[in-house]
């Protein structure tokens, strides 16, 4: 009998500890912003666990950077929907009129041309891009770290998310400040030593190397800084959860 009562005691303690631990964790997660915007519904618990665990363990981690010899000879890009007349007009003018508007919780809303974006300190990094489908490539990305832009417009202290939009209708994403201020999060305008090809998101693509490829939105023309994502779209944080995909893609 002895080991049976011992086992019961261990089991009971573990169950009780687990339950109260969960309740405490949920409270802490809410308090420290560890619940993702799509953290409700049937997949909410899993998403919250992943996002919270990775924010606690990987907040400041740097994505791996590779040697030039590891750059993929054959990078791949998924097709996008036709880019429309406006894009074509801008492309024909060499993107001279392309603007990146920055608004929301900022002291000085602004709109940057591509040469203005390029005048900020530049960063080049060779990182891995993986698609949720399973394929991947390594490329050199050249661009302006997003935090330089955020500094320039004077992000207000209550800012918690940066929303970024593509010129493509209904394509928008958002990241938390941990990713927005991360040194490797780039407004990319170059790839593999050259201009960023349209196929890979040129003229401007937001590169978030610690998340899957779909968070690196192509053809961005607007950033909005916000304290809450509920007012945007269906309130799930970006167009991905509206299409059934997780908002946080660091998996």
């Amino acid at each position: 009998m002895n080991h049976f009562s011992r086992r019961k005691l261990i089991t009971a303690a573990a169950v009780a500890g687990g339950a109260s631990g969960l309740a405490a964790a949920a409270g802490l997660a809410r308090r420290y912003g560890l619940i993702p915007p799509d953290g409700k519904g049937i997949y909410g618990p899993g998403e919250t666990l992943t996002y919270a665990a990775q924010r606690l363990l990987t907040r400041h981690a740097l994505a791996r950077e590779f040697a030039p010899s590891q750059i993929s000879k054959t990078p791949f890009a998924n097709e996008v929907d036709p880019l429309g007349d406006e894009f074509q007009r801008l492309q024909e003018a060499g993107f001279a009129d392309w603007r990146l508007a920055v608004d929301g919780l900022v002291a000085r809303p602004a709109s940057f041309s591509i040469p203005e974006i390029k005048s900020f300190p530049r960063r080049s990094q060779i990182t891995h891009l993986a698609c949720e489908e399973g394929w991947s490539y390594i490329a050199e990305w050249i661009g302006t770290p997003l935090f330089h832009i955020l500094d320039a417009v004077g992000t207000l202290p209550q800012a918690r998310y940066v929303i970024y939009r593509s010129i493509q209708p209904d394509v928008w994403e958002s990241i938390d400040m941990a990713d927005a201020l991360h040194p490797q999060t780039l407004i990319a305008h170059g790839m593999n030593g050259d201009e960023l090809p349209v196929k890979f998101g040129g003229p401007l693509r937001l590169r978030v190397p610690r998340q899957l490829g779909y968070k690196s939105v192509k053809y961005i023309n607007r950033l909005t800084i916000a304290d809450d994502l509920k007012r945007f779209g269906k309130g799930l944080g970006s167009s991905s959860p509206e299409a059934g995909y997780a908002w946080y893609a660091g998996i």
Binding site: G18, A63, F66, Q70, S72, I138
Partner: protein, 250 residues
């Protein structure tokens, strides 16, 4: 947990000796939670896989690079060339949400089970083979019996033989940790924070390939496991894993 079962189940039960539980409550609950989450992981894993049924070795791979191998099945994305001329329905979104949620359930249940198993001596008592059983002669005799499909005797319902013990230990301490590790290694955030998790495997595409093979092994284990349970007496084994006891000890 099922204390009442300590009393003899009926007047005709074997006198004086009460029937002990074959499986403890924790083993039964964790078994079924793991079984359910594994089935979910399997189905959603297949759904994720069919969006790109091609495998690579190293850090990178895409349709423009040579594949290590390719599964001869249609895909759920039109950008993936299969030669079949049709595209399967794309279920990747909810499959990914559910895959990771089920992975959390499986990992937390597995952690609880392993801690329980170590603290209560479950592994030592029920799964660690006796040194005497580990001789080649004994193992090969037992293996031959299995291959001839000799039915387990009644004692077999109350304790695991050495082949079962080794198989369960391999699944619990090799295959499950490996499938979790390779799953984590595919995460860009984990790769950033703990690069060694990826580099030891040879790269993120290697991790994906190993994840696939370990999942295949786990699936084969599931088939053989259910087949053996069937062969050994499905009703009784199910009763033992659900309620704790087989129907009778005869």
């Amino acid at each position: 947990m099922a204390d009442s079962a300590w009393a003899p189940t009926s007047a005709s039960a074997i006198p004086t000796t009460a029937v002990p539980a074959r499986h403890s409550g924790v083993v039964r609950v964790t078994h079924w939670v793991t079984a359910l989450s594994f089935l979910v992981l399997l189905v959603t894993g297949v759904e994720i896989l069919i969006s790109h049924p091609r495998f690579y070795w190293g850090e990178t791979g895409n349709v423009l690079t040579p594949a290590l191998f390719k599964l001869p099945i249609p895909a759920s994305r039109h950008t993936f060339p299969t030669g079949y001329g049709y595209v399967l329905p794309d279920q990747n979104g909810w499959s990914r949400y559910l895959h990771f949620q089920a992975a959390w359930v499986a990992v937390l249940t597995g952690l609880f089970y392993v801690i329980f198993g170590v603290l209560t001596g479950h592994f030592r008592r029920n799964l660690l083979p006796a040194r005497a059983d580990l001789s080649w002669r004994k193992l090969s005799t037992l293996l031959a019996e299995h291959l001839r499909f000799t039915r387990a005797d009644e004692a077999g319902a109350w304790s695991y033989n050495v082949l079962q013990r080794l198989t369960y230990l391999f699944v619990i301490f090799v295959l499950f940790p490996l499938v979790i590790w390779t799953g984590l290694a595919m995460s860009p955030a984990i790769a950033a924070a703990f690069p060694i998790v990826v580099t030891v495997l040879g790269g993120q595409q290697s991790a994906r390939t190993i994840h696939f093979f370990v999942s295949v092994f786990l699936f084969i284990f599931l088939l053989v496991h259910v087949g053996m349970v069937w062969r050994a007496g499905f009703r009784n084994r199910m009763r033992a894993m659900i309620g704790g006891r087989p129907a009778s000890r005869r």
